[in-house]
Amino acid sequence: MRQKKWYDKVMIMKRNIGWILLLAIGLTGVLMPGVAAAQLEKDDLLLNIMYSNYNSLKAGEQRTVYMEVRNNGSNDLTNIRFSAESPEGWTVEFSPAVIDSLASGNVKTVNITFKVPENAAKGDYNITVIADSNGLRAVTGIYQHVESGSLFWVWVAAALAAVLIVGFVLIFLRFDREEK
């Protein structure tokens, strides 16, 4: 008798667990399409700079590269503004500086002109290009190698070499005279 009561209780619990599981599955089914819908409506901006980073520049020179701006999202983007974080003394200009509107799936090209300052030392530099559109931000970078434009250090080397040669000749002549 006791055993039968215990069996009934277990069966009732099993049935309740079944209902809870059913409820959970139902809720997931309701929520999942919502999540999927949210994923469909996304904003995405892609920046692609077309250039060869093997071309080096000399101090004082400028260069123009082309940037492809692609709206990869599902919504149209408006008021896309461009800015750059560049090394000290560098000037970076965008043409056009603002894209008023870019429909979903569309591409526009922007010219980026940057100028290396006259006093730039030889080395590798990075320019960070930023695009902002109503809270959406996309970032990319330009790597640029700069060669020294001036012959200043070559002249310094020539002067030092001249000092060494003149010093050597003077010492040599002095000792030669002593020997004679």
Binding site: G123, L164, F168
Partner: protein
């Protein structure tokens, strides 16, 4: 001890002394040449490394410090080699006089003195040119 035997012993001693001095002279000159060339090449490597990196005030100061080191080392070794050449000439002249007194000067070719001079000049040119390269190349890279 008879006088002529005493003089002969003394000449032997002087001869040994001169030979010993010549050996020391050779060793010292070898050290001068090797030290200068090796230090020049090491400095060339260090300064070239600094020059190919990003330029800064610190790196320029370090480069010029090494250039000062090159100049000092080259002058010291050039003076050392010139003094070595002078010393060798004096020692060999003494040796020649001794050989002449003993009547054996015919065994020593006098042109060897000129050969030593040429060899010293070549050593000095080697030191000078490695020094010049060690100074010029890093600044050209920069």
């Amino acid at each position: 001890m008879p006088v002529h035997r005493k003089v002969s012993t003394m000449i032997e001693r002087v001869h040994e002394h001169i030979i010993g001095e010549l050996n020391t002279n050779t060793r010292t000159d070898t050290i001068f040449v090797l030290t200068a060339v090796i230090l020049n090449l090491i400095t060339l490597g260090i300064n070239s490394g600094i020059a190919s990196a990003q330029a800064s005030t610190t790196s320029t100061i370090v480069m010029f410090t090494f250039v000062a080191l090159i100049i000092v080392i080259n002058f010291v070794s050039e003076v050392g080699l010139l003094r070595g050449r002078q010393m060798r000439r004096k020692l060999l002249n003494g040796l020649m006089k001794m050989y002449k007194d003993q009547g054996v000067e015919g065994y020593y070719d006098q042109t060897l003195l000129g050969d030593y001079r040429t060899r010293y000049n070549l050593f000095m040119l080697t030191v000078l040119f490695t020094g010049l390269i060690a100074i010029v190349i890093p600044f050209v890279i920069r």
